[in-house]
Amino acid sequence: MLINLLGLVLIALIVWWFWLYKPNKTIVQNREVLIEVKDGVYSPSSIQVSASQPVTLKFMRKDQSPCAETILIPSLDISEQLKLNEITQITLLNLSPGEHEFHCQMQMYRGVLKVI
């Protein structure tokens, strides 16, 4: 009985942690943000920018795995190859308010750009 309860609690935690929890957003202050691409995650992965200003996303890829190689922002029709151990810049102009997901080809690396 106890083990079943434990299992259900674990499932509830998974649902909460991976789907319901809204992580804090990194607010871009000076029009650019450095995003580290390493160990399966973008850091930061949740970014908030203002619609009124252009923003430069600077991706620093430190992961050798080919999964980390490509960054896609499908809603903005952007795809870029990220060079290993170098910064790849993507400058976004005239963003309209809304959420733009960015991810690798396989969607294992995931992030979101919120424009307000």
């Binding site: 998974i14 795809s79 969607q107 995931r110």
Partner: protein, 747 residues
């Protein structure tokens, strides 16, 4: 000379004399933070060291009246080499990790098979397994560290990925095993089965799978590598009457570039001197070399076969056709067709769902399973985690698109994005514009039938003078015909082009009118006796046009535009593939009918005004057809944009055709059939991949959970699951690589 790389390298524009050097160096040295500035006048570059922003250096140069731009010294070729070196290093690491893990995993597995149960009953067994457990931990640290670090970082980031599944699966097996090695009494005797071999084998197999996938992935980008490889690293330019060998990134607009026979064209340009034949097959797919002489265009990446040429650079750096093609192919390779969207949605939820299924599976075994229930629960939970493969699902679409778009580029077909690729595979009707698409687009005057006029030369002189103001291809044919006969063109006044009808103007106080029968009717010109003559010319696939002077018909001038040599066979190829081919032209019905018949097309729309082309596309779409429209990309832009897939026939290597979804770089319509064939093959490949990935996960997970056990007593081993996971994504990449062997057949 020292070997210190300068902090900034700039190329200076507008420096025409040696005295500029001192001024430019002085301005740069006067900028805060600059330690040294040395200019090489021969190649117009300046090397600057110091702590200063590039923008400030550019400003300093601009302030004294020159232009400067930074040199990006990492060419695409260098970047590619770096990437290959990095991939090779990573491959070696993965193979090393595989070797370490399998060195422990394989003997353990053999021991399990040969000796039997891997249980902990005696103290000796306990001690032995403790040593094995520590060794396995070593394998986890040395060969699998990246999985655990990735899983932990993802977890902190509220996301989960393949690392999460591997880390949880192998971690659970190891923790369970080591727990009862340390405290054997915690679980019943029959449940004391160690799974160290599973942990080591899974880590080894998945690393091996990643290594093989990395190798296979390299092959998927062969097409882009080949395109990048077409670029040269250096160019010979003539500056101040001297030949200088410079880096390709230093070539400036209007530089005079010299290319010897056998050399590659470094940038785009216009030939100034020399005559040669150039092999453009690497870009256009057209196997025959193209003759080039003064005023002809040459394109970067193509091969100069016979003569030495000097040409003026018209497009350099990222503006060359080749650079644009590379950019376009790269972008298209990374875009996803709509068919991949479901897989994307599933991928986003996949890992947490698998974690939940794993827990439910363990609970089911604990509640309803036979003894030792805990051992069964651990095996099933671990196997579920390990067998699920989000990567296969995520890779299914992009890998095929990558190969398919690259394959198309090799055939001279540029596909704008994944959506165009997918829609092209579903085309049911193809509209072909006549002039320049089915025909050569270079019409020639074939007949002059005199009416009121008496002198053919005078007719041609007046008609050519009038048409010199028009850009219509038929008008150009008349002008060229006059020039070929050394007829001098006269000055015309009050020129007026009446779109879809013709042109009018005055010349030497004569009112001139040139165009189709409709124009003549509007203007009240009497055509009695000549309509029949015009019709019989039209039936010979010629375009008859009426020429009136001072309100009276002077002559009929007929122009013919020959059908391209391979139009008939390529149209037949489309029709054989079940595509309804329709011709569209502004020409009269008789000419259209004659051309259509020659080309083997039974349906055509004639006398279509340019603005009505889009309406014809819409009409077909409304009748339920998926419509492809093929045109020259300039006059047909609205129709191309409205069609489900717009195909632009490029003139040579002009890729700046924004309105087209697919650009054919050679004039042949076989490119069209190739594009459709490649898109169909790619879509088929994507479907195979998606089907495989879905079926693998949907069937694999219940097997792993033990659904077969109640009926057949079979429970999947975590090692088998590890092998299946490792090789499922390899299968997807390998299947995508099969597309490389695809060959479009020209019948």
């Amino acid at each position: 000379m020292n070997n210190i790389k300068p902090d900034h390298q700039l190329i200076i524009e507008g420096a025409g004399c040696a005295s500029c050097v001192g001024k430019i160096e002085g301005a740069l040295k006067g900028t805060n933070g600059v330690v040294s500035a040395e200019m090489n006048f021969a190649d117009r570059t300046v090397q600057v060291t110091g702590t200063v922003k590039t923008e400030e250096l550019i400003k300093a140069v601009e302030s004294i009246g020159y232009n400067a731009k930074p040199i990006d010294d990492s060419s695409e070729i260098d970047t590619l080499d770096e990437k290959e070196a990095a991939d090779w290093k990573y491959y070696k690491k993965l193979i090393r990790d595989t070797f370490i893990a399998l060195s422990l995993g394989v003997p353990l597995m053999i021991y399990g098979i040969v000796v039997g149960e891997m249980t902990v009953e005696t103290n000796l067994e306990r001690m032995s397994w403790l040593v094995v457990g520590i060794l396995t931990f070593g394998v986890m640290y040395f060969s699998g560290k990246h999985f655990y670090v990735g899983a932990w970082k993802s977890f902190k980031n509220h996301s989960a990925n393949m690392d999460t599944l591997i880390a949880l699966g192998t971690g659970t097996a190891w923790i369970y095993s080591i727990a009862f090695v340390l405290a054997p009494d915690a679980v019943p005797l029959m449940a004391r089965h160690v799974y160290f071999e599973a942990t080591a084998m899974i880590i080894g197999l998945i690393n091996l799978g990643l290594a093989l996938e990395l190798k296979a992935r390299g092959k998927t980008s062969e097409a882009i590598k080949r395109l990048i490889g077409l670029q040269t690293k250096t160019a010979t330019v003539v500056r101040d009457s001297k030949e200088v060998q410079i880096g390709i990134e230093q070539v400036l607009l209007n530089d005079v570039v010299k290319v010897k026979p056998g050399g590659k064209i470094p940038v785009d340009g216009i030939v100034l001197e020399g005559h040669t034949s150039i092999d453009e097959s690497m870009l256009t797919g057209e196997p025959m070399p193209v003759e080039k002489a003064k005023e002809d265009e040459v394109v970067a990446g193509t091969l100069n076969k016979s003569g030495m040429i000097l040409f003026r650079a018209t497009r350099v750096g990222k503006d060359t056709a080749l650079a644009q093609i590379i950019n376009m192919v790269k972008r298209a390779q990374n875009s996803k067709p709509p068919i991949g969207r479901l897989a994307d949605v599933i991928s986003a939820y996949f890992v947490p769902v698998v974690m939940i299924i794993s827990i439910l599976s363990a609970l089911a075994w604990l509640n309803f399973g036979p003894e030792p229930a805990i051992a069964f629960a651990i095996v099933s939970a671990t196997t579920v985690l390990i067998i699920a493969c989000p990567c296969a699902l995520g890779l299914a679409t992009p890998m095929s698109v990558m190969v398919g778009v690259g394959k198309a580029a090799e055939a001279g077909v540029l596909i704008r994005n994944g959506e165009a690729l997918q829609t092209a595979s579903k085309i049911t009707s193809m509209i072909l514009d006549k002039t320049g698409t089915i025909t050569e687009g270079t019409p020639k005057v074939t007949n002059i039938v005199l009416a009121k006029a008496t002198d053919e030369k005078e007719v041609l002189q007046l008609a050519a003078s009038l048409e010199s103001g028009s850009e219509h291809p038929l008008a150009q044919a008349i002008v060229e015909s006059a020039l070929d006969q050394d007829i001098e063109l006269l000055k015309i006044e009050s020129f007026n082009a009446i779109t879809g009808f013709g042109v009018e103007a005055t010349c030497n106080n004569k009112t001139l009118l040139f165009g189709n029968d409709k124009l003549m009717k509007i203007k009240g010109i009497d055509l009695t006796g000549f309509v029949g003559k015009a019709q019989s010319l039209a039936k010979e696939a010629k375009t008859p046009m009426y020429f009136a002077v001072n309100g009276e018909l002077a002559a009929i001038i007929a122009v013919a535009d020959p059908i391209k040599s391979d139009s008939i066979s390529s149209i037949k190829r489309l029709q054989t593939n079940g595509i309804r081919v329709i011709m569209l032209t502004g020409d009269n019905k008789d000419t259209a009918a004659a051309v259509a018949k020659k080309a083997g097309i039974s349906e055509f729309f004639a006398e279509v005004l340019p603005e009505d082309k889009a309406n014809k596309v819409k009409e077909l779409q409304d009748s339920g057809e998926t419509v492809g429209m093929t045109g020259d990309g300039i006059n047909d832009a609205p129709a191309l944009a409205l069609a489900d897939v717009g195909f632009a026939i490029g003139t040579g290597t002009d890729v700046a055709i924004e309105s087209a979804d697919i650009t054919l770089m050679r004039g042949s319509l076989h490119g069209l059939a190739d594009a459709i064939a490649v898109s169909k093959a790619t879509l088929r490949n994507i479907k195979q991949n998606l089907f495989g990935a879905f079926v693998y996960n949907v069937a694999g997970i219940p097997f792993a959970a033990g659904i077969l056990y109640p009926f057949f007593g079979i429970l999947l081993s975590p090692v088998i699951a590890g092998a299946a996971m490792a090789f499922s994504s390899l299968t997807v990449v390998s299947n995508a690589n099969r597309l490389r062997l695809f060959k479009a057949k020209e019948h």
